[in-house]
Amino acid sequence: MINKQVANVKEALKGVSSEMTFMLGGFGLCGIPENAISELADMAVKDLTCISNNAGVDDFGLGLLLQNHQIKKMIASYVGENDEFERQMLSGELDVELIPQGTLAERCRAAQAGFPAIYTPAGYGTEVAEGKETREFDGKMYVLEMAFKADFSFVKAWKGDAAGNLIFKGTARNFNPNMCGAAIITVAEVEELVPVGALDPNQIHIPGIFVQRIFEGKNYEKRIEKRTVR
């Protein structure tokens, strides 16, 4: 068993520096790598490119890095719910690339799986396809989209072990598995680090080979963005 465990978030983020490209898991505030984001907000790194489905809210998630002006470019599918984001975007301070959600997921997965590019129908005939190669297969048009290239992936899982194996919970899974192994270094934070052998090998969502560093996170807030009840 190859041991991926690191002592804490500081050790997990070793090597992070300005101008890097990060992937960050989560959908809205669900399943985001809270510990990694919080640590990044404390570090003197800036001019970051962040690939993440959303950009957090003003005072949580990626919103923390936006407040510090640490993000230079954001690649996302939906960026509502964040006033500071809007301000920086409209002022031109922040570069924003909006792409379809399925394309975002698959460009991550392509990087994980060693595919250079994919053909997807999403965005054909729209401004998303401008400047991109398009191609017909069986009478339907597709857009060529390139695999992402990133320095670090920050993902959050429910349970994990020192071998790097991960299990996610509910819809907190979302982009997290697709980002594992999609960057040079994948850092996984988990709510509970269990002994190696405690996870059923049949139920592991992400095998440890896709993870370089793992640690048990602290003080998860797991904030609910839109509490709705019957």
């Binding site: 379809p100 399925g102 394309t103 975002l104 997965r109 998303v128 429910w158 019957r230």
Partner: protein
Amino acid sequence: MLDKTGIAKRIAKEVKNGYYVNLGIGIPTLVANFVRQDIEVEFQSENGILGMGPFPLDGEEDADLINAGKQTITALDGASYFDSSTSFSMIRGKHVDLTILGAMEVSENGDIANWKIPGYMVKGMGGAMDLVASAENIIVAMMHTNKKGESKLLKRCSLPLTGVGCVKKVVTNLAVLEVTKDGFKLLERAPGISVETIQQATEGHLIIEGIVPEMVL
């Protein structure tokens, strides 16, 4: 004239037994409340759940269980969770049978614009572009005209497109229309709404064949 609930009720009748359905934010979300109880339907939410249930009871919210609108939800028996790539495999692979979403504009050839207004803050397309590019059966739920009273059923969309030639049906506060190769075919009128009113509110080519029935809700 229908209100939002009325539009949702009418669309609910399009949901057939055995359908996997993806509901967009807004009016489409309401559709789930009006689907017949005697048919089998499963709701997919693109953030990673199939078999989505109603909102949780107060106190039973789970931060790890939300829908694509970021609302807390529940899971029904037979539900499953999956990653985003698998979720869009369901959508792109045409496994989802029906997509219901809102729009700012629809053109007579089935183009849809619903994600961007130049000059305004753009929030993004989320999963809408993937959904409209692949779904075989797309129903748009929207008001027939915008707040200025201008038609949203156009010859050509004026706003940046979300997808091309993809919308199959439009249900508005005034009418049910099918997108055909020749334009919007008027299928049903909302209660009390005349063909003339619909004609006036429709900029795109409207096809009227025979007597157009009033919709039954």
